[in-house]
Assembly symmetry: C2
């Protein structure tokens, strides 16, 4: 295992400490229990948005804490759910009278722990479950996973909360953004979890893993590595069949790198995906390309499409000031 | 070689086309000859800032074209200098009466081609040569290389040009920012140039390459892989010895990933570097952590320190609106 590392047990704490120092103008780190909270909490009465999940997906979620997006994020150990005490302490720190909305990626551990926290919480609270990964069938026993679409939900709900939307409206909006969003990913390599010290799965030189999640698990199918055009055609085709957008539909196209894929390749994938949907008459009005929802050092990427209406477009465009997304302020 | 790829010969063009589509609100791509230019050119009479170099370092330089930074960037093939016709066409497209300043990383091919362009250009022009990489001795035959400090020079000169500084002032300021900046990098893996199809050098599982540039060339020395703390101590120590900052000095600390190193590790490196300089009484007032000056899919990172005064701090903080750096507007 080749990593910048002192000790597997201290890696997360040291890294979060560096994150907090580098972005002391935006966020503050609480170490015990562990959460990152926004410094300037915005208007009193605002709904508090809290997310979290296993670490190893940076900048998700800590990089999205700040004005116009999350109020707090609870990082677990690598690929491991945070615990309810983290969520409760974070809620205590950022609740301002508007209640708490949890934004949770659909993974069993995360769902269970946020549910426990919700039950123990003294504030009104609700949960948006993100399940944008269409690699798994809708009928899968634990449902579809939450992946790169999560940041889109967080951004849009964040803008609404900043504008004063109440808890029920924020919850409804999050569900709407999630439903409008579909993602699918492909890996060219697995990743190496520090505590494990070796790749979580093996791929041959001519193989790729189609339909992967973001936790180093096997995907839907190991396939022969093909051209970028064929890969994008396949993934975009599945997303298109899922969302069934009509001609003229405005969309946000997000190409997300898993951590080890150069921007040059991500923009190639963006180009091919943009061609795919332009050919089908869609109107790509918003874009995001880069490493936002990663899987440690995995080579690979995912494509996410969100069907936009005026409301979602406006919320996407609203000012945001976080470590990883920043515009308009 | 595992990459998202259709054809090695079309990769750069396809990728730039995707880049132009994703950021059509900021930049425009000219394909023949190849350059990326800022859409809103700012005030008439403004000095035109142009950079460029081999591709494979994205987001450098195309990702830094926009308000408050570069007016144009000329991308060559992967790790290959752009040609004078690109620079001349870019200058023609963005010159507005204030003359042209080239910002050039110190590599033989880039220096030669920008020099030819400067001689052929009908506008007043000057060049800032960036040579922040202290891995090589000052006495090295072709001088020190320009690496991650380049974006710092581009950002600061970009702000000055936007504020109306003239060509001589922009040139002097660029030289000043370059002199105030030192960088050094370490690689845990080499990178794979698409046209070559295999890693540019080999490292054993327990080895790292200390003092690397950004073109997949061997570094100063192949060393045994040690702890992150020892690696940072070594690199920061060399930078400290070079810049000799006094106690109380304000600095910008930039930890740059080479493309395949997760943010979790980059923030760990940032934490250790911050501790190093805090112990020595420095005041880290500005930070930048992420993959900004990459070397394709290389695992590794560099540390850059810039000594700040009020002028440089103000220029760093000034509004910037590019694909890869955005704040204040």
């Amino acid at each position: 295992m080749k990593k910048f590392l002192n000790n597997v047990d201290t890696l997360l704490g040291e890294s979060l400490s560096g994150f907090a120092k580098a972005h002391a103008d935006i966020i503050q780190l609480n170490s015990q229990p562990r959460y990152v909270k926004r410094i300037n909490l915005g208007n009193r009465g605002k709904v508090a948005l809290i997310s979290g999940g296993g670490s190893g997906h940076e900048p998700l979620h800590t990089g999205f804490v700040g004005a116009g997006m999350l109020d707090a994020a609870c990082p677990g150990q690598v690929f491991t759910s945070p615990t309810p005490d983290q969520m409760l302490a974070a809620a205590q720190a950022v609740e301002q009278g508007g209640g708490v909305l949890f934004i949770v990626k659909n993974y069993a551990g995360d769902v269970m722990n946020f549910e426990i926290a919700g039950e123990m919480l003294d504030y009104p609270n609700a949960t948006v479950l993100v399940n944008d990964d269409i690699s798994l069938p809708k009928t899968h026993s634990v449902g579809r996973r939450g992946v790169a679409g999560t940041l889109i939900v967080e951004k849009m709900v964040g803008a609404a909360a900043e504008n004063g939307a109440d808890l029920a409206s924020c919850k409804a909006l999050g569900d709407k953004a999630n439903l409008a969003t579909a993602s699918m990913g492909v890996a060219l390599s697995s990743c190496t979890v520090p505590a494990l010290g070796k790749p979580t799965f093996e791929l041959k030189e001519n193989e790729m893993e189609m339909g992967v999640g973001i936790h180093g698990e096997h995907g839907r199918e190991t396939q022969k590595l093909t051209s970028a055009a064929e890969i994008v055609e396949h993934i975009a085709g599945e997303i298109h069949a899922e969302l069934k957008p009509e001609k003229g539909q405005s969309v946000l196209l997000h190409v997300n790198g898993f951590g080890a894929t150069p921007l040059m390749e991500l923009y190639l994938v963006y180009e091919l995906a943009a061609q795919f949907w332009q050919k089908r008459g869609l109107n790509i009005t918003r874009s995001l390309v880069g490493n936002y929802t990663t899987s440690l050092d995995m080579a690979g990427c995912s494509i996410t499409l969100t069907l936009l209406d005026d409301e979602l477009t406006k919320l996407w465009d609203a000012p945001v000031h976080t470590a990883a997304l920043r515009w308009g302020c």
